[in-house]
Amino acid sequence: MLVSIYRYNPETDAKPSMQEIEVEIPADKDLMVLDVLELAKQKDPTISYRRSCREGVCGSDGMNMNGTNGLACITPVSEAAGPGKKLVLRPLPGLPVVRDLVVDMSVFYKQYEKIKPFLINDNPAPAIERLQSPEDREKLDGLYECILCACCSTNCPSYWWNPEKFIGPAGLLQAYRFLADSRDTATAERLAELDDPFSVFRCRGIMNCVAVCPKGLNPTRAIGHIRSMLLAQGT
């Protein structure tokens, strides 16, 4: 199978290039893209990429496969490229490239940090733990599962244009995760931080984020909830 891989070392290369590598794949097997990448790396050990868990848990191998963002370790080649087609691997779009398929996620994490991704509660801690009813706990489903792979934010045009100002789908999903948490008491402060023309309102609702989330999460819906909360508070 022919694999085309984005190669770029900003320190030595004037511009990025695509390297084509022929990889032998067992005929009866549908490998994951990450497996193919490992085979390619055996041929050319200088190829760089991140990976750790190889089972869709750590979020480190988010990349662009034939034009679609996803986790290489849980995306079958048949799904990424289709039968007999070339597999084209590029880094996540919109972030600076450190080397080949490895991108600099600093700005992505900065947006995550901005939404204060931790429980804020000024009430004195109870003797054992802060309890939550099963109903309140249920409100966090579809939010807490995010692995911060950045597939969604780097698929969002609004995030490409304003990565420093628009929090992006991943950060906003987490913002709502804490807004929705019954144990968090900083709701008003959190909302006040979001009521500017960029942080939330750059979302144009085109749902590119939803289309690629490997965890099946829905950032657009969470953004809608944040907007409703801002509306309820601001009118």
Binding site: W160, A192, E193, D195, D196, P197, F198
Partner: protein, 122 residues
């Protein structure tokens, strides 16, 4: 909190609301104009003048003009802050964006004043 001095209201929520409400006003106005063509398929100039001479129509027209101006500014501002940034233009981006915003504001102000004169002038 990301601050911005040139957005319509400084608040993302207010901008968002104004954008939606102004769209509703513009939609209603459009229907009203189209409706009057349906009701008077052979409208002549005198009837057309009489339509816009009524106070209710003058208020509605002016309201729609104000809605159009607000809607246009929020939209143009958004487009400008999406595409005219340092990502595309490097160091010169601020001057380019500022010039673009100034031209937009100026045009919108001219249309607003001109429109008031047309709808409410003698």
């Amino acid at each position: 909190m990301v601050t911005n001095a040139t957005s319509f209201s400084r608040s993302g929520l207010t901008d968002w609301l104004v954008q939606r409400l102004s769209a509703v006003v513009l939609g209603a106005y459009m229907l009203c104009i189209l409706g009057s063509f349906v009701v008077h398929p052979d409208m002549d100039y005198e009837q057309w003048r009489a339509l816009f001479a009524a106070d209710s129509m003058r208020i509605f027209s002016l309201l729609s003009l104000a809605a159009l101006c607000a809607h246009a500014w929020i939209g143009m501002w958004t487009v400008g802050t999406d595409y005219l940034t340092s990502l595309q233009f490097g160091k010169g981006a601020t001057s380019i964006r500022l010039a673009y915003q100034a031209i937009c504001i100026l045009l919108i102000a001219v249309y607003l004043i001109w429109g008031i004169r047309i709808f409410w002038g003698t």
